[in-house]
């Protein structure tokens, strides 16, 4: 059974789906474990929020090999890695090679990734949509550090949006390995370390784990239905007998997220943040009718 912290604070009445996803992820962080985190964005926001509220001894390791930094927040736009603010007050400054070797000897408990596409076996695509061989595809940047995170961490957690195009029966390109073809020992036969692999997938709507190396729905957000969740997937996951409710953000979580971790709204305001959700008078949650203005879009201050 997945361990998840009880939310701290009063349930919030108003939040967006991205904020919800980050807060749920923060509660899933296990204290006292290492997290090798790809890039910035939602994975970084989640681990930083967790460290402030739920898992003070969780160890944040940046994709490029900075061990346990205490980033000087807020970070400049784009500069979520390899910058002096992102690497501030670390215990050790490493390199891509050093962190790769640390992970290769088993020091990284968890990896957190974003992905373009994921399939039932947890394979991750960040390279292209379409057909590689024929040349008919839309190309993306490549796995970056994700392949190593997915290969070398003991457990890999994916964060992605809940959209039909993201959940496909077979990813167009395996950029980073999940359970590959899903057979037992497939990872080991490919040379990957024993006992590693996909562990969770978290979207704003749902939480999945794996049963016998196949994606299994284990939790749902209170503002969506099972039908919605399954309707936005191109394959049918297994479904756990008991489903967890992914509790909405608390005021305390949102305050830390909005004022300390992401005051410029780079993760939680701009970009694809999903819908705004409100708590209705009957205690249920649902999308707001008219999208709010939210905080002003934090365009770059003129003074920069």
């Amino acid at each position: 059974m997945i361990q998840m912290q009880q939310p701290k604070g009063i349930p919030a009445a108003y939040f967006n789906e991205r904020e919800h996803q980050i807060c749920v992820m923060a509660r899933l962080i296990e204290d006292g474990k290492t997290y090798w985190v790809a890039g910035g964005g939602t994975p970084m926001a989640s681990i930083l929020l967790a460290k402030k509220l739920y898992a003070p001894n969780a160890v944040y390791v940046t994709e490029d090999g900075v061990l346990a930094p205490e980033p000087a927040l807020p970070l400049d736009p784009i500069m979520t890695m390899v910058s002096s603010r992102a690497s501030y007050r670390a215990l050790q400054w490493g390199t891509m090679n050093s962190v790769g070797f640390h992970a290769q000897i088993g020091l990284m408990d968890y990896g957190i990734l974003n992905t373009l596409q994921v399939d039932p076996y947890g394979n991750v695509n960040s390279t292209l949509l379409g057909d590689y061989k024929s040349g008919e595809f839309r190309r993306f940047g490549g796995p970056g550090g994700a392949d190593s995170i997915a290969s070398l961490c003991w457990r890999t957690i994916l964060m992605t949006d809940h959209e039909k195009r993201k959940f496909v029966p077979r990813v167009d390109f395996i950029s980073s390995p999940g359970f590959l073809d899903g057979t037992e020992g497939a990872r080991e036969r490919a040379g990957l370390p024993k006992d590693t692999g996909p562990y969770l997938v978290l979207t704003p709507w749902a939480l999945f784990d794996y049963e016998e190396r196949y994606l299994r729905l284990i939790g749902i957000s209170p503002f969506v239905t099972m039908e919605q969740v399954l309707g936005e997937m191109n394959f049918r996951p297994k479904i756990a007998p008991q489903l967890i409710t992914l509790e909405p953000p608390t005021e305390e979580e949102l305050t830390i997220l909005r004022t300390e971790i992401d005051p410029r709204g780079q993760v939680t305001i701009t970009g694809d943040i999903g819908r705004w959700i409100q708590k209705r008078e009957d205690g249920t949650y649902g999308p707001v009718e008219a999208e709010p203005e939210g905080r002003p879009n934090p365009n770059l201050p003129r003074s920069w």
């Binding site: 490029d64 736009p77 891509m96 550090g145 950029s175 040379g191």
Partner: protein, 327 residues
């Protein structure tokens, strides 16, 4: 005694030829062991040490401590048919492709957009698939002088099939084990905090694989914020990240990472970076190159006319984190 050792799988990608003995011979014949001053302009360094067709590595360009000025000089000199080691490269890959400098890329990660998309679709650029760590491991193997390195990642990916990697049965454990070919690039571009005129270089803060790249590459161009005396180097030999004898050129380029950050010295010019990132993702790089590369004489001209002292001073003032970045 001849025993069999199976090769279980092989990628089909073309890879930069593996030749540790050939690299050794290059090192013997070209790397100067004596302390010979190597200070020269960016123009001269790129003219002398970057040839059409070369395999090029660099990292973190337009992010932090990237060799931004050197890359712009490569574009200005319109080098052709470069093979990029495209790991942690961000916008530079697209800039180089837009300028027509590139024909092949080994990809770990780069910021994608219409420029590269078009080049790939039209067959002008061929891409081979790796990951950031596999690429830095390949460079590590090159820096160790060995033909290949076992890795515990990359197996089972589709990238493997379009790479130079293989899966062998490890003769010690009997387990399937991925090996990747060593990479000895033709050229490494590395921007550092301090160097002496011979190339003994100090780096403060993080890096991706710059020390390994310096050792693995046939030609190494260092650009540096500051030239320090060799006496200063000798006062703390523990700070030398890159030893002079693998360095071919030292270019004194203050603000050489601009518009990226130089940790401890100046912040990123965020507006500039956001602009070029936007152009990379949505188009417009030709306009960018016209203004910032072709439209200026050199790095100093660019800083003087297009950026200006006041702006540079602001970037210096914004670099408020100093801990660990001073010798």
């Amino acid at each position: 005694m001849v025993k069999e050792l199976e090769i279980l799988a092989e990628g089909e990608g073309e890879y930069h030829p593996v030749d540790p003995d050939g690299f050794r011979q290059w090192v013997r014949d070209h790397k100067k062991r004596a302390l010979v001053p190597k200070l020269m302009s960016a123009k001269e360094a790129i003219e002398r040490f970057v040839q059409d067709g070369d395999y090029l590595v660099y990292e973190c360009n337009y992010l932090q401590r990237g060799p931004a000025a050197l890359i712009r000089e490569i574009i200005r000199q319109r080098k052709r048919n470069l093979w990029l080691g495209a790991k942690f490269t961000w916008v530079a890959a697209a800039l180089l492709v837009e300028a027509g400098c590139v024909s092949k890329m080994d990809v770990g990660f780069f910021l994608f957009g219409p420029t590269v998309d078009r080049a790939v679709k039209e067959g002008r650029v061929k891409i081979y698939e790796y990951s950031n760590v596999v690429m830095t491991n390949r460079i590590k193997a090159g820096a160790m002088g060995i033909p290949f390195l076992p890795v515990r990642s990359f197996g089972g990916t589709d990238g493997f099939n379009y790479s130079g990697a293989k899966i062998i049965r490890d003769p010690y454990t009997g387990q399937p084990t991925v090996i990747v070919p060593a990479l000895n690039p033709d050229v490494a571009l590395i921007h550092v905090h301090q160097a002496d005129v011979y190339g003994n270089a100090r780096v403060f803060g993080t890096g991706i694989s710059d020390v390994e790249s310096a050792l693995a590459s046939k030609k190494v161009i260092i650009s540096t914020e500051e030239i320090v005396d060799t006496e200063e180097i000798r006062h703390n030999p523990g700070l030398t990240a890159i030893p002079y004898y693998c360095v071919d050129a030292v270019v004194h380029l203050p603000f050489g990472a601009y518009p990226g950050e130089m940790a401890g010295r100046y912040a990123s010019d965020v507006e500039h970076v956001v602009q070029v990132v936007g152009a990379t993702m949505r188009g417009g790089l030709e306009v960018y190159l016209e203004k910032w590369v072709y439209g200026v004489e050199d790095h100093f001209d660019m800083l003087d006319r297009l950026v200006g002292w006041k702006r540079l001073q602001q970037l210096v003032q914004r670099a408020t984190i100093k801990e660990g970045y001073l010798p």
